[in-house]
């Protein structure tokens, strides 16, 4: 049977995150957006509340929450500030490869320190010349017996400048294409790691995004998470898990844009009446609600499939969820600015920031076009 209600704990979780967002995130979001400063205190607070690193299994002392729980957390965070949400959720993105591909020993060694203090991690897949075509990456890992030596550059690394640990996808032999790709967990303090300057981004300005260059970085073999040939599959499997919570953050952003619009439309008067009384505005609001609700439903369905181990279909549903949520969030945010008119185009009102922030949802963790490729591949398979 179909069940749409959240459990009591999920309701409590949603309520807790919502309060945290209302009191700690929303009042500070514009300031961090303006300064581009990294919101470390807010992140530390989120860590204290236990809403980071939620996927660490209970047998290791974590909470072992499911994807649906992450979806609930991310919608609430996304409604507050997508930049701060990214900084928080990137930990799951960077730790999932170890949780999914690592041995118990590696999980204890590399992941458990994240439960002890508010550490950050970064997922290093994209490169200057390799984005949607992730299989073409060229960061090289040379096998030196008891260790690997990494050389190459990674691009658009969220939390890049603030991370304690990198999960790096590299190739042992580029001629093998995806069959040469491996995954290494790299201590951010290793010699030979050079951090690029923070990118001066259009939106999500409080998240730390930069390039990272590895120059002869020694990584012990015990940090090999996926052998050559297994790394690419691990990257995709990781993205299957994180795509849905990412989509849900977009739902949160869209929800916030819609709620701002509803409030403003009731207050703003033109032609001696609230603009909410005009059908042109009402239809925009109605479309926003339809989009937000459908995005959320697909996120829940994708999460349900992931939590129930339906992995093949989960990839399809997570792509549907990300495709719809990211695109609709951009549409909703654009319409929100339209409803606010000239005011919406200024930084005095919150919707222009949402519009800038949600644009990235169509780009990172697989562009909307890549999601369509994944969806079509599922539809056309024999």
């Amino acid at each position: 049977m179909i069940e749409f209600s959240l459990s009591d704990e999920q309701k409590a979780l949603k309520e807790m995150v919502r309060r945290f967002v209302e009191k700690e995130v929303i009042p500070n979001a514009a300031r961090f957006d303006e300064s581009g400063e990294f919101p470390k205190e807010i992140i530390n607070h989120a860590w204290e509340l236990g809403i980071m690193n939620t996927a660490i299994p209970q047998k290791f002392g974590g909470l072992g929450l499911g994807v649906l729980d992450e979806v609930i957390i991310n919608e609430e965070l996304g409604a507050g500030c997508l930049g701060i949400t990214t900084s928080i959720m990137v930990n799951n993105l960077a730790l999932y490869p170890i949780l999914l591909g690592g041995t118990d020993e590696q999980i204890k060694d590399l992941v458990l320190p994240f439960l002890e203090s508010p550490k950050l991690a970064a997922f290093c897949l994209s490169e200057p010349g390799s984005g949607s075509d992730a299989g073409s990456l060229s960061t090289h890992a040379e096998d030196k017996g008891d260790h690997y030596v990494l050389n190459g550059s990674k691009m658009w690394i969220s939390n890049g400048g603030v991370a304690d640990l990198f999960t790096v996808f590299a190739t042992a032999d580029k001629s093998l294409k995806t069959k040469g790709i491996l995954c290494l967990a790299v201590d951010a303090k290793s010699p030979g790691i050079h951090l690029g300057k923070p990118e001066n981004k259009m939106g999500q300005r409080s998240s730390d995004t930069r390039s990272i260059t590895f120059e002869g970085v020694k990584v012990p073999k015990k940090n090999l998470i996926a052998k050559p040939g297994e790394g690419f599959r691990l990257a995709l499997k990781t993205l299957d898990h994180t795509r849905t919570p990412t989509a849900s953050a977009a739902v949160g952003g869209a929800r916030a844009a819609m709620n701002h619009s509803i409030k403003y439309a009731k207050e703003r008067k033109q032609f001696n009446q609230a603009i909410a009384s005009f059908q042109a505005i009402q239809f925009m609001l109605a479309d926003m609600a339809t989009k937000v609700e459908s995005g959320r439903l697909l996120c829940y369905q994708a999460a349900w499939n992931l939590d129930n181990g339906n992995h093949d279909i989960a990839r399809y549903y997570s792509a549907l969820a990300k495709r719809l949520s990211a695109d609709m969030a951009m549409e909703v945010a654009t319409d929100a600015v339209q409803i606010f008119g000239g005011y919406g185009y200024t930084k005095e009102y919150p919707v222009e920031k949402i519009m800038r922030d949600v644009k990235l949802m169509q780009i990172y963790e697989g562009t909307s076009q890549v999601q369509r490729v994944v969806i079509a591949r599922y539809l056309l398979q024999d």
Partner: protein, 257 residues
């Protein structure tokens, strides 16, 4: 130290209140319920007291129907060790509630009892006083600071009084303290706390278990919504006329100057 928190579940501050057809109460369906905000300060102070003493247990107790268990679980998620639910589906008055709470406090050998200085629904600020009388322990209200003596046999409580001065009261333990806002910043329920709260077994008492008999002595019969605000007045004319009219209205109608 056996620390207790008495809390009440109240309608969310943003609730649109409707009166029932027979005017005996407010419509309680479709209300979002929250912990009385003053009681949240009480929970936080109880948790802080335990942390300062480095020992003890914090027990949250409430009276009401099944929905009030949610408030207890939130208290556990914030860090309370135990929770007690005095379950009743009846319409009860403050005295019955205080009687039930006082029986729980005696039965469970409570020592320091925290609660909010008032509930934001009916604003009676009566329960803590009734309870302290029934258990025969000292009490104080509008507390903004608590300091337990090193021998843990007494405490000093500070309350704000008019004019920015502080009234410092020393009292023996056990006692009842009704706290004011500003005493602390309540923490959020943490995610591990929420998971723990879900599994927590909550002790349940009925009024019969506690020997609370008889019905309410106070009956509420005529709830009314506050009168709607009348529309504002617009003063017209040139500046000099407007000022003259404004001053006249302030003087003769509002009688403020």
């Amino acid at each position: 130290m056996n620390i207790f928190v008495m809390l009440k579940q109240v309608p969310d501050t943003e609730t649109k209140i409707k009166v029932t057809a027979d005017k005996s109460n407010i419509e309680k369906n479709d209300i979002k319920w929250i912990i009385n905000p003053y009681d949240e300060f009480a929970i936080e102070e109880a948790l802080k007291t335990k942390e300062r003493l480095k020992e003890g247990t914090v027990t949250a107790v409430t009276v009401g129907p099944d929905r009030t268990v949610e408030a207890l679980r939130t208290a556990v998620a914030m860090g309370a060790d135990n929770a007690i639910h005095v379950k009743t589906d009846d319409v009860v008055d403050t005295f019955q509630v205080a009687k039930a709470l006082s029986e729980v406090l005696k039965k469970e050998s409570a020592q320091i009892v925290f609660t909010g200085k008032q509930a934001i629904d009916d604003d009676q600020a009566a329960t803590f006083g009734f309870v302290s009388e029934l258990v025969d322990w000292p009490s104080a209200s509008v507390i903004v600071k608590v300091e337990i003596a090193p021998d843990k046999k007494s405490l000093k409580a500070e309350r704000d009084v008019e004019g920015g001065t502080r009234h410092i009261i020393e009292m023996p333990i056990p006692c009842v303290l009704a706290v004011d806002k500003g005493i602390n910043t309540p923490r959020y329920a943490s995610l591990p706390g929420i998971m723990k709260a879900k599994k927590k077994e909550i002790k349940v008492y009925s009024f019969a278990d506690l020997g609370v008999t008889g019905g309410p002595t106070v009956k509420e019969s005529d709830y009314q919504l506050p009168p709607e605000r009348s529309a504002g007045k617009k003063i017209t004319g040139d500046a000099a006329t407007q000022v003259k009219e404004l001053v006249r209205m302030l003087r003769e109608e509002a009688k403020v100057i």
